[in-house]
Symmetry: D2
Subunit: 358 residues, 4 copies
């Protein structure tokens, strides 16, 4: 609840953008798993601010320190706590925002809900919290990888520039560019789009697509912990996410049943489906096909353009932000989407062990 | 988890399509609430099968019987159990499907996950379960109504026929037609569309839009129980739902920050927003504006057309279903979407009481 | 929470003493388990009111009706709902108690907590609710029995009459008498004691001891879901329970470490302990030895003797109860203690599957 | 679950005896609460090892560092993370125990459950974890104190030396001696007892009694989250705890209903009880009287005397521990019992806000 996510494999997240540190505690991680610490740091680096000219200029080393639960390089079954120290916080940047409710930010709602707020850099509402998810996801990914399960997210749209849906996705090409779009030509257009809005002091949104490969049959707990339901909750908890769909989703709403039903066939001696409008999930349970979903992100609300808004005294004022921010969150959201997908998948994998017993 | 939904206001659902009864137990319902039983039955009737020629021909009275938790017409704080008996089940209809995995149904995944299955009418995977949600939602709605909170869902798209986004929504007109679209002209086109696919032995999907009015400021528990995250989970748990978005959602992905930021202004002496691309939620917390979201439903997988599929022996067969089914689930999904929205909202309302204390 | 118990194997209970029915919903029961319905009813009969002259004169058939989750005699993995109808409720018996707060009952606290109450027979606070636990426990017991795990509870004390601690317990003798004490001589004394207090219009308490045999090594989830911690919570949730201890417990508090440490030895080629002051649990985790605990029950607060108390107007009155009640709850608490022990054990067994993975 | 405790006010604990740090994350702490950091440290000091010659010789500063959730001295509603660094760990002390299963310790069960273990100082199973509880409890206590609620625990028995039950308890005298017994004469005898067993290389257990004062009417969530049930779970999760009782408990089992029923009377114009055998809880709900319970602790299993046991190769060996340990855990358990009582009480207080609504 609230700052904890997951059932059997679960974690609790803490920390503010400009506090001492952010971090998390993983509980329920199976014991006896060898962890590759470099892989964990590499994932965190994929989300790191300041990684390219398309992202915020706040640069953070984002070094992960583990405090517990790992002994001689392996998990012990005890909670795994970790912290990432905030080293580049400049609270002065935000002093001028102390009494201002920035448009489409969480300033106003936090103030009202909690009676007051840590205004420095958005406090707890900052997307900096997503670094915690990436650490947890990197642990989950390693356990999943031991089972052959892979997760690949990529940027499929920035503003109006969309990856052609018929393009075959080369997962190896995702990290070839700073936008994280597997198609080089489209990626270049997306990068141009982001640079243009940045130059204009503006921002832009987009879509992250994600595939989970080699998911065993039977994950997902109907009725209220269906695989898609857990993914949707996970994805909508990411800052700036505005929507989720899977399989046929929103785009195929005009298709008829006869056009979108996935006929069962025999492939390689096993029952499979001829098409995959189901997105790998039927009745809330993985059917062994590729799981496929999308998450849409809005344009980041922090822009350099002047905006009208209200301060905490209810007075209208003109705001011109000069904090550091991303013109487009999508490229850095890619590893966050993967992380949340990994956490959901591992949790459902552990849960599924209790389905048949005795 | 699994068959339980909610934190403080929560319920557990049970029952199969062709078993003795379906039902639920509400736990955490505040005491001392007078309940209008007719209102509850009226909501159930809105979801009832056989209500028009656009729906399945299975007709069920769907009478709600309460077993506990209500004394002299008021809640006592004890769990509220209720059942709806299955009266029109015809298991013979499904005998021929015993060994068949229907395309895009849950037959195959249930069989694999649980080792065997109740094949009668989809068993637990049947959308009949959603009647339970409607009962619970009808209780939640009454408590919300006491606080002035209203929930209105409607059909905004069927197949390719979409309600014009600029149309002002007249909530009172939603129940004027069997499609539950507030615009009569569009509703007629939608009904035609459904009748055409039905005549063709086919099916079609669509979109339900929903508005929650008069939600107090401060609902939603960041980071992982954000209002949108809870709504997404709730909506994706509904049978045939393939996606969720709120506020600007998928359709406004090309807008820039300067175009979609919601400037704060003073309205009627209170802080409000000039526009509502945020969909009434900022930082996961309700901001006092109208909450606005959409849910997309796929074409129901049961069609009368012949389809190729596989039976449980792995043999390819030709299937022609002759069970009773809806050509389009959207009109009957409207009250289900409302119910889940009500449950989420009430739960967050109760949770928010613990935010400030002392 | 509240009316739900358990994590993976969990159930929700509902119903009042004088309502339509009591019942429950089991969620998370593994699929494909053949259930012996007669065994379930037999367990319920062990708790049934009116089973002997030592218990209440309210007689109830307490017939269990299953509504879902079982198909062709086997579990399907779907929630298992069941009800037990109240047939012998006589609300008139309680009309005179409507405005009276009976001493040491829940009348006063329910009234204050919920603002009003269902006063008939104690409403939700009635021990009648424990029949629900017995049904759930009977399901759990069958799954445990398939794994060789046995649970045996018995009456070890009534008032001042205690079973000698050095007595070897013959589990087969427990049901030989109506007190459920495995030693016939002690049982006779206990029965006499109960008859004497009953004749005097009074009541008496006692202790139930319980052993869980053949529990596999490794059950219990440290730190906060230790086996003993879960048992304690479960036992203290039973009506009239006032305490719990396990292993060395309260009685051996004067022993030194050197006297109560359980030396590890090799027995039958396996690591075991020479003594069992640990009660089968070390560090919150089962160690493979017999799990052994006790639960103390107070004298039932309903007595026929005249008592002074207060009514809801704050006036002092004299109360003489004439409802039906047990002079000693201990004999009927025996199957309830077993049921809760079974539920805890099965839940921890399912949870333990996630400890090592990968 | 497992390393998380509580529902609305809840925390997650992490850390091993000889790792980098132990710590916790409090989630659900109400916002806008001013925290006295010195009070928190003072509570931790009460539990600190090395505080007197009656305790272990391991001395730790046990300085609490907060990482998040507190801004300008007040809670923000965000998770409150804190760590206590381990500064005096000497892993070499435990190298010789690497392959040995110490009697009545968790070595054997952790090894079996998790497949391997952090053997240094008991790893996660060390009572050092209870320092985390004390920090969380110290936060809870401050919020409770703002409501007038006080919690006082004390040592009521060490070995066979028991505080006379008729002694009036002077809460102010508890901290006057290192045993934390409010009666000086009894305290001196208890201290002598502990010094004697210590000199003998042995250990001894005892009983902590606890009173919660000024608890409002209505806390506790029947049926399965009754106040006593939550306390029992909390107390039995403490290392070395072997039992819990409240009110009349185990010692008054021979009393009849007519002797132990708490008659309602009017005191100071309010409904109260003449006696308090109920221990302040009726039907699982606080009745406004003093809540009174006990927790029994076994003799700490670490002793200097030679013991026979088994190593991980199944060979019998002779063990003589030379780590640092407490001859009696009871004096240091006093603040831990208070902390857990505070956490349970605050959680139930927050939960009770949802009972009546509308």
């Amino acid at each position: 609840m609230s700052n904890t996510f997951g059932t059997l494999f679960r974690y609790t997240s803490f920390g503010e953008s400009h506090g001492t540190a952010i971090g998390g505690v993983i509980d329920g991680c199976p014991s006896n798993v060898k962890l590759d610490m470099k892989l964990i740091q590499r994932e965190v680096d994929r989300r790191r601010p300041g990684q390219s000219d398309l992202t915020t200029t706040r640069t953070e080393a984002d070094t992960v320190e583990f405090l517990s639960g790992i002994f001689e390089g392996k998990t012990t079954g005890a909670p795994i706590a970790f912290i990432i120290r905030n080293t580049q916080q400049r609270s002065d940047d935000y002093e001028h925002l102390k009494d201002i409710f920035r448009p489409s930010h969480a300033d106003f709602t936090y103030q009202q809900k909690y009676g007051w707020r840590d205004y420095r850099g958005g406090g707890r509402a900052s997307a900096r919290e997503t670094a915690v998810r990436v650490v947890v996801g990197a642990v989950a990914k390693q356990i999943l990888a031991n089972k052959g399960i892979e997760i690949h997210a990529y940027t499929s749209q920035v503003g109006a520039i969309a990856l052609d849906k018929t393009t075959a996705i080369n997962f190896d090409a995702i990290e070839n560019n700073e936008v994280r779009c597997p198609d080089a030509t489209t990626a270049a257009k997306m990068a141009d789009c982001i640079r243009t809005v940045k130059a204009d002091g503006d921002s832009i949104g987009g879509i992250v697509s994600c595939k989970i490969l080699n998911v065993p049959l039977g994950l997902g707990e109907p009725i209220y912990s269906k695989f898609e339901s857990q993914l949707a909750m996970a994805m909508l908890s990411i800052n700036a996410a505005k929507g989720f769909d899977y399989g046929s989703g929103f785009d195929n709403v005009a298709l008829k049943g006869s056009e979108m039903n996935d006929a069962f066939v025999i492939k390689n001696g096993k029952i499979a489906t001829a098409t995959n409008y189901s997105g790998g999930i039927q009745g809330g349970i993985s059917n062994g096909e590729e799981i496929s979903f999308r998450v849409v992100f809005k344009a980041t609300p922090t822009i350099s353009k002047k905006q009208n808004t209200i301060n905490s005294n209810g007075k209208q004022i003109e705001l011109q932000a000069h904090g550091r921010h991303d013109p487009c969150v999508v490229p850095r959201a890619v590893p966050v989407v993967e992380a949340m997908a990994a956490i959901v998948t591992l949790d459902l994998l552990l849960l599924s062990q209790a389905n048949q017993y005795g």
